[in-house]
Subunit: 257 residues, 2 copies
């Protein structure tokens, strides 16, 4: 059973995983981050030791979690001290597992499908954790760890994980951008975003309860081109205008009978 | 106090309002709909009488709610029996209140800002109800009725209501369409939509708790153009590709520093 881990990276995912693992009884030994202030802050929060580079690090933990931006993985992995004994995992939706192949013996992916921000603590309780591993033994170790954090653990290969990541960009990142757009539109008329809170929650809940394909409503769904033209004229911002047109046309096409 | 109402229209808003008003102690006298089967179905559910046209209708209720598609309002209002004694309201986000001016003495708008589907019952408890009225007296009557259904009643003029409607199209209709897109992407890889449920709920909750402008995450927010290019190549469907590009570019532009 994994009881010790170290972490390379100090971003949102790294910080949340450190806290959640610590709560689940996994001792965090070391936190490595280029910005030593951030590394110390995170390390102190879980009683770990902070380092600002990999040169002098000796990883004696059972697990090493690398959670950095996608384009930094290659460089970080190339700098890992050799030989490296822990199981090494990354937390990215879009980086293939084989990035570890030439440098690490036992490796895998630990991808929690959630949106993490510094502003808000989240539990992984019912959050899907997508696992991939270099061997059945490594998978068993990662699975035993993951079920201590979440009830929903999935075996997902690198191709599937990438598809999930793209779907998550649509269902989370793009959705949030539309919330921002809605808020801007309201603010221009001095109306509070709070007006939309119940609608936003109900839209999310309904998509989950009855499926989004059964929950579509609105002018484009009804084929009401008069309203679409009227709205289009009323939107000043060219970017919001472009979004309104593209999304309305796609909905019109989809439901055109 | 309004204790009796009649309804013209049998759509989702009409059906939900009939049920909710009935529960709140307002007797529904008549339901008028072109499709008599639908009109009877709705009328029977609230012990009202069904009619399939306006010719023989005499409205003795205190309130007449017209809830039809936006482009049908003019025709319905022109057919109202004269003189008409009830307060007459419509339920549309985009139709100006003055559509009633030449035909009705006491009129207004009763616009509940929620998404209604036949599949799912909803309460108006904390749902914003946007009211507008032809006089202070009519407003007082509508307000007294609205607060029996919802804790959140707003005085909103026709211009503001139209802006709210556009914002709701972004925050609800377009958001649901993105949920549909995410589901399609997952299904193409034989992955269940359930994977995204926690992410969808957390994204909605986070936008409400910390504001969507503080909750943006994802490749475009981070300026990670490598991932954006990779995702763009991986998406087969041309419509999803176009959506991915437009939304990613708008997020890139917004957070470009």
């Amino acid at each position: 059973m994994i009881t010790t881990a170290s972490i390379i990276g100090t971003g949102n995912v790294a910080a949340h995983l450190a806290a959640l693992l610590n709560c689940a009884g996994v001792h965090i030994d070391m936190v490595v981050g280029r910005d030593i202030t951030r590394a110390r802050l995170l390390a102190n929060s879980v009683e770990a030791v902070a380092f600002d580079n990999l040169r002098n690090c000796v990883f004696n933990s059972q697990l090493l979690i690398i959670s950095v931006s996608d384009d930094a993985y290659s460089e970080v992995i190339s700098q890992l001290p050799q030989p490296i004994t822990p199981i090494v995992v990354h937390t990215s939706g879009s980086v293939a597992m084989n990035i570890f192949e030439s440098k690490v013996q036992n490796f895998g992916v630990f991808y929690p499908l959630q949106t993490f921000s510094t502003e808000k603590q989240v539990s992984l309780n019912h959050v899907p954790v997508c696992l991939e591993a270099s061997s059945d033994n490594v998978y068993a170790e990662l699975e035993a760890l993951a079920i201590r954090l979440s009830s929903d653990v999935y075996k997902i290969n690198s191709y599937q994980r990438q598809q999930i990541h793209i779907a998550a960009v649509f269902g989370c990142n793009f959705v949030n951008f539309l919330y921002c757009s809605a808020k801007e539109l309201l603010q221009k008329s001095n109306l509070p975003f709070e007006l939309l809170h119940p609608l936003i929650l109900e839209t999310a809940r309904k998509a989950i309860e009855v499926g989004p394909e059964n929950a579509q409503t609105g002018p484009a769904k009804r084929g009401d081109v008069n309203i679409i033209d009227k709205h289009h004229l009323l939107i000043d911002d060219p970017e919001l205008k472009a979004l309104y047109l593209l999304l309305s046309n796609q909905i019109l096409n989809k439901y055109d009978s």
